[in-house]
């Protein structure tokens, strides 16, 4: 177990999540990609805490923040999806193109 090993795994999770978030058409699937991305961030935070600064609590606090962010992201995402779907019966990102402004 080394910091490098943890970080490579975290990097893999972030890239897979990014790939998913960029390619998926469905809003719900995009959110899954984002969740996976944040999953990598959690792992990296735990690794940084453990291997670099175990005396402090910043790494732990960061994990708490990220986990909360995931919950918020999901709740907000589904609320927006529901609102768009109610208004337009759309759940695909390409269809919601006017949101580009």
């Amino acid at each position: 177990m080394t910091l490098q090993a943890f970080l490579v795994v975290a990097a893999a999770l972030v890239s897979v999540g990014l790939f998913g978030a960029l390619t998926q058409q469905s809003i719900v699937m995009v959110m899954m990609g984002l969740e996976l991305l944040l999953n990598g961030v959690i792992l990296a935070a735990a690794a940084f805490w453990y291997f670099l600064a175990p005396a402090g609590t910043e790494g732990q606090v960061l994990i708490v923040v990220v986990v909360t962010a995931m919950a918020i992201e999901m709740a907000a995402g589904f609320a927006v999806t529901t609102a768009i779907y109610r208004a337009k019966r759309i759940d695909m990102t390409d269809d919601a193109a006017e949101l580009r402004g």
């Binding site: 058409q25 529901t82 779907y85 109610r86 019966r89 759309i90 759940d91 695909m92 390409d94 269809d95």
Partner: protein
């Protein structure tokens, strides 16, 4: 006796029983249920939970098809018996124990793999979907249908899946979201369900969006034997209580029903017990909470329960003017639309629809099919 046989015998000594009967078999069915309860055999909740299928009476072609369908879904070891007369009940049930414990007979009976051709515990009877096309859905399909070269969102109306299953349609739900809608028949093989009734429903989640009730194997206006009023009312009460998850009082009600129906025990005693049961239902605080408050307009099921108690009491006393209303199937349909699944089950049990009584003048409100 080798070990496998011994194990099998031990396993099937207390089989779970599924009683299936068509319209007009209620009296015989009550006898079967009474005998099953006397043996302390549990009543199965679904075909998958069943060991013994008891067919009551002579099912017509439609119900016969359903029973075959159910039978495919019953896991081995299993047995099936048909009862057309009260005297056949005891030997029939005894015989099933023998069949269940007979290794060779079970090998012969076992289906190839036990897979079922249809979905749902309530077997599909026939699929007639022509009514259920949704214009909203069609518009949607025209707008977005093929933009991405993928089958966009919601499945063309008649899309068939591998396995011959019908896919869900799209329709507005009660919160204004367009969501999947399933067309499934409810009944006739469901716990606490009126004999021979089928309600074809469109389900969205567990909310019923469209309902069409009909009786299997009944011609319009055909006369059908039905239970005496008191027994009929008590059957309905027992079903409502059982569906409300109050199995103890439900079983007691059923016991009372049997005594009323078969004239066991003296009437005064039965009436006392009925009053005690009624008081108990009255005293419960949770039941009105579950079924809907007494004052509220949504307390229809509770009111129906109250009315059934009254009519049973009146019929017992002998002097009741309580002419039970014949259930109007279209009215039942209307009440089911918009109801959540649990509520719908209670509504059906409280309405307890049956075809016209044999003595009534024939009208044509029967079976929509």
């Amino acid at each position: 006796m080798d070990l496998r046989t011994a194990l099998l015998r031990a396993a099937v000594a207390r089989p779970h029983v599924l009683v299936v009967g068509g319209v007009g078999t209620d009296r015989l069915r009550a006898r079967v249920e009474q005998e099953v309860a006397r043996r302390r055999w549990p009543v199965a909740t679904a075909p998958a939970d069943t060991d013994v299928v008891v067919v009551v009476g002579r099912p017509g072609p439609e119900l016969g098809a359903v029973i075959e369908d159910v039978w495919v879904g019953v896991p081995a070891p299993r047995a099936r018996v048909q009862v057309v007369d009260e005297h056949e009940i005891v030997p029939g049930l005894d015989e099933t124990v023998g069949t269940l414990g007979d290794l060779d007979a079970q090998r012969a009976l076992a289906g190839r793999d036990g897979s079922r051709p249809t979905r749902a515990a309530s077997p599909s009877v026939d699929e007639d979907d022509e009514q259920h096309e949704h214009s909203a859905h069609d518009d949607h399909g025209a707008e977005h249908g093929t933009e991405h070269g993928t089958e966009h969102h919601h499945h063309g109306g008649g899309t068939e899946l591998p396995g011959g299953l019908a896919m869900a349609d799209l329709a507005e739900d009660r919160d204004g979201l367009a969501l999947d809608q399933l067309h499934v028949p409810l009944g006739p093989v469901l716990p606490e369900w009126p004999s021979g009734l089928v309600v074809d429903v469109a389900l969205q989640g567990d909310v019923i969006q469209d309902a069409r009730a009909r009786f299997l194997d009944v011609e319009a206006g055909e006369a059908v034997e039905r239970l005496p009023d008191a027994a009929r009312a008590l059957t309905s009460v027992a079903r409502v209580l059982a569906l409300a998850g109050w199995s103890g009082p439900a079983a007691r009600t059923r016991g009372l029903r049997d005594r009323v129906l078969f004239g066991e025990g003296d009437t005064a005693h039965v009436a006392d017990e009925l009053d005690a049961l009624r008081r108990r239902v009255h005293r419960s605080r949770v039941l009105p909470w579950v079924l809907g408050s007494r004052k509220s307009s949504r307390g229809a099921v509770l009111d129906a329960l109250e009315e059934k108690f009254s009519s049973a009491r009146a019929a017992l006393g002998g002097g009741g003017e309580h002419r039970p209303t014949t259930t109007d199937l279209p009215a039942l349909d209307a009440r089911l639309v918009g109801a959540e699944f649990a509520a719908a089950r209670l509504i059906v049990a409280a309405a307890n629809p049956a075809p016209q009584p044999a003595l009534a003048e024939p009208t044509s409100t029967e079976g929509a099919s």
